[in-house]
């Protein structure tokens, strides 16, 4: 930073990502409120602690190896050649075979006077990791051990989602080159994978006691505090503004980046370094939220829980292509995805006896998958990258369907199911039946009651 304009651009970018991190923090606040509101009174405090503790667990492991994985595996390895060359300054080979900036012992992973971006970019990705783990957390409330959830949160938050991000959410990712994969605001790389992972865990974990009658009919265990759930979902919406902004690069001169001699074109870009605008995605975001809310209200016959969840499902469905869609396309796509997610939730619940306590698999998993598939058709033929001539496939339906299978199934459902099986085999997955019936907070509540009685009977 030796000239004022360069310094301003750098400091602006640093501050931009910092703001996105603060906004995305609200997603986690929202998830905590949402989960506690959805849980029953006797499980409240443990439910809150389970979700809260994913913050430090995913953060430290993201520092140890999560960020490293993102920079280590864009090429597969070995599936498609890297375009990272000396000219980009991002050569593979530093720091254990990944990039130096991902090595937890490298001086760039700290306050560094020569770098203003790595830390905030690391943090923005970390907040995506929290989101992925938090999605899983909601589905499995009231019967999983905190120990098991900690392992699963690290697996989805610091390992599997970051592998899919390296493959399909990186300008050098092999899924762009081979499949023409496009997922600007993470329908697949965050939501579909987390939904698939949650479904894999749920298949092993089993339903809450009493969820299904002896004849197999599902019973509704609705949110115990609808107000907390509503405020939580509003906060998640708010945090999504930060999520969308964090998926962009705020200012980039694409002329020299694409090798166009004499061309200067400053713009915001998505994560793939293809152009979009913050202004435009503000419209697509709001119209997809609206499409989801309208569809959710209609299909659930005005149920508040599903109307709010529908707003979220709408955003998630349209997110894959919201960098390029017309806002009215976002509206329609969001409505379709929300309708399918709602219907799928109840079909899967009834058919496979899956007890997804907050509808996370539907809102994130099914809506994410639908969003990827629709994106493949609507953006068919668009370039998946601006680096022409370097072997990138164009966006296409087949590539996006395969991408959806990779996200939801290969990197989501399968690892979730395997890890849950291992934890179940070790007797560490599910809390004892007696504890589930009594309530996870029984001991805390009993102690609080004794304290209260002692205080009430005191006269000095």
């Amino acid at each position: 930073m030796t000239d004022q304009l360069g310094a301003l651009t750098t400091i602006f970018t640093e501050f931009y990502y910092w703001i996105t991190v603060v906004l995305m923090f609200l997603i986690h606040v929202g998830f905590c409120m949402y989960e506690v509101g959805a849980s029953r009174y006797k499980h409240h405090q443990h439910t809150l602690m389970k979700n809260t503790m994913l913050i430090p667990l995913v953060t430290v492991t993201w520092f140890f190896f999560g960020w490293w994985i993102y920079w280590a595996f864009p090429t597969g390895p070995g599936i498609a050649p890297s375009i990272m060359t000396e000219s980009t300054g991002l050569i593979l080979g530093g720091g254990f075979g990944a990039n130096e900036l991902a090595n937890p012992m490298d001086p760039i992973m700290a306050i560094n006077l020569n770098d203003h971006i790595n830390g905030v970019f690391w943090a923005a990705f970390l907040l995506f990791s929290w989101t992925a783990a938090s999605i899983v957390s909601g589905a499995i409330i009231e019967r999983i051990t905190v120990f098991a959830f900690g392992i699963l949160a690290i697996a989805i938050g610091s390992v599997f989602w970051t592998i899919d991000a390296a493959w399909g959410w990186h300008f050098d990712g092999w899924m762009l080159k081979v499949l023409g994969y496009h997922d600007a605001y993470a329908s697949g790389v965050i939501h579909a994978i987390a939904g698939g992972f949650a479904l894999g865990v749920l298949a092993v974990l089993g339903p809450r006691i009493g969820k299904f009658s002896s004849s197999g009919e599902p019973r509704n265990i609705g949110p115990r505090n609808p107000w907390l759930v509503c405020i939580g979902l509003f906060l998640i919406y708010t945090g999504f503004w930060g999520f969308y902004a964090a998926c962009n690069i705020p200012i980039f001169d694409l002329g020299p980046e694409y090798g166009m001699e004499g061309v200067t074109f400053f713009t915001a870009t998505n994560i793939y370094v293809t152009p979009t605008t913050l202004s435009g995605i503000t419209m697509t975001f709001l119209l997809s939220l609206s499409g989801g809310l309208l569809s959710g209200y209609w299909v659930s016959k005005g149920d508040p829980f599903w109307t709010y969840s529908g707003g979220l499902a709408g955003i998630i469905t349209a997110s894959a292509g919201n960098d390029l869609y017309h806002p009215l396309q976002s509206l329609i796509i969001a409505g379709i995805g929300t309708y399918i997610a709602y219907k799928m939730h109840y079909w899967v619940e009834r058919r496979f006896k899956i007890d997804d306590a907050v509808g996370a698999v539907a809102v994130h998993g099914y809506a994410g998958v639908v969003g990827l598939v629709i994106c493949g058709f609507v953006l068919w033929g668009y370039p998946s990258s601006g680096y022409d001539g370097l072997g990138y496939a164009a966006i296409n339906p087949i590539g996006m369907i395969i991408g959806a299978v990779i996200m939801f199934g290969v990197l989501g459902f399968v690892p979730g199911w395997i890890l849950a099986k291992i934890l179940h085999g070790a007797g560490k997955l599910r809390i004892p039946r007696e504890v589930e019936l009594a309530g996870l907070d029984y001991n805390i509540m009993e102690a609080a009651n004794k304290d209260e009685k002692a205080v009430a009977s005191s006269n000095r």
Binding site: P104, P107, A110, L113, D115, F147, E434, A438, N443, E452
Partner: protein, 73 residues
Amino acid sequence: MATVTSWVEHLSADEVAGAVYPFIGTEWLWLTIAVVFWLWFHVATGAGEAEEQQKLARKRPGSNDYKKNITDW
């Protein structure tokens, strides 16, 4: 040991060193301690959780017994 003892000298060098945290070169040690702490946390809290739940399971409270423990606001 301080990495920087004079900001004027540090910032006027031909090539300004980016890293300014203390004990540069010992990152491996901090990383090792942090990884051990992280793994210990899982073992310790996992064991504590299991013990607490076994104890509660042996008491076998009913599914509505928690209601008698609800405190005032």
